[in-house]
Amino acid sequence: MSYVIIGNSAAGIAAAESIRKFDQKGKVTIISDEPHNTYGRPLISYFLKGTSTAGTMHFRKPPFYTDNGIDTIFGHAAVKIADKHVVLDNGDKVSYDKLLLATGSVPFVPTISGIEGKDNVFTFLKYDDAIALKAVVKKDSRVVIVGGGLIGLKAAEGLHTLCDDITVVEFADRVLAAVIDKQGGTIVSDHLENNGIKCILNNTVDTLRDGEVLLKSGDVLPCDFLIVAVGVRPAITLAKNFGLTVNRGIVTNTHMQTSVPDIYAAGDCVESYDILDGTQKILALWPNAVRQGRIAGASMAGHADELFDGGMPLNSVGFFGLKVMTCGIINPADESGYEIVRIAKGQQYKKFVMQNNMLKGFILINAPNRAGLYTTLIRDGVDLATIDGDITNGIGLINFKPEERAKKIGGGAGR
């Protein structure tokens, strides 16, 4: 059996491990256009900051590939899927019995005049992006980041150790618009400002000029380096060209199998079922990718026990020590039908979104401990009537019924 995995990040690695769990003999090949061993993709901002180094960026310890008997083809993009083989950018063909597409995302670059062919324009998704930025950004460089989402803000935090003048320009009325509400977003942007990151909201970059950018508002900002971080799109070209069913992302069943039986897909390039709103959507989330990769790998190796039953939005991220967690439905467009509790105290902010006596989402800023229990309430659809006390005041296993708690931490003790 010959397994080929395109993609060397969360889903690809999880799949390779999962295949090896069930099939120690088959040939496993990982193809990646990046020239690196697997690394924690979100660590690229920590690499800028210096928290993570070339020695600690690895997602699996370096002998991972040899230890697991995995062949690697790094630095070459897969450009085409053909009948039972993959064609690489150097013309080589890699044949497969089972193929996994774990191609992830590609940055979305909006129309900004003047960026074509400029070497001071960056995206921020790959290790090489961070290496390149680290090489050129100087203490007095002026950096403008388009997009105040997770990627843009982490890039800002990472760059802050390298240079002093950083401005984030966000089109929405708040930073982290996709994962947080206005009140939370304000705490985050205030905190960034206090740490020397300028945040400009309700605005965007219109034109890149020599040494400056023109904003939509007409304002002009000095700019030596422009980082475009407005978002990502699933990398679906290979799949589309081969004729796999693709909507916004690659369509799979619960075994992560695509419309072609021997081809599987996992991670940010696929459409996932959102257990909270029941829709298919791109859930570009690390844990989601790992789980899908694990399930895909097992299925490819003939073990279909675990099914992907859906995911939900879940993000935890820190900015200059501010711990931000968001999960589920945190900002319903129409609040009717929801019970929403907000508790704010200084830099701490907690928001709980409940519906039909179930927790559907939360924001926790600087209140991280025990957050997993809230996540569990959402994921398991726990009826809050079975929970003691008011969970918005805090949560512990003590809020669960004794028998439920015994199951959780009393284990098989039977005492």
Partner: protein, 146 residues
Amino acid sequence: MKRVYAVEKLCLNCKLCEVYCKTAHSKSKDIIKAHKTEVPEPQTRIFVEGDNLLSFAANCRHCENPACVEACITGAMTKDPITGIVDNEKERCVGCMTCVMACPYGVVKAADIAFKCDLCRGEDEPACVKHCPNRALIYIEGGSER
């Protein structure tokens, strides 16, 4: 694998498990230094909840498919394939706390980085169990958690 289980009806709320966990995870392994002088402050990885009437200590279940490992963006959180111990490598953890948010038992601790029970790696019995004055924590083969 052996795990630490809480026997709720015997828990005294004395929190000595927390004290000895902190000591076991200190540099000095000295209870007084660990609590009074050591920098950085050692972190306890067990949570006593409740009051004198109802209390219990919760720590990591070392799950079969750990949500924290699945959530870890750095690869620092791993489950040892041989011992089954789920542990966080502090040199690689960047403190994003996705594991804290993912843990269905709420037992990964968020400090500057994430801290969790490692079953006192290498010891026959974890410190919390060894020092529980009332055997309210037991270390036995149990069910398979998540």
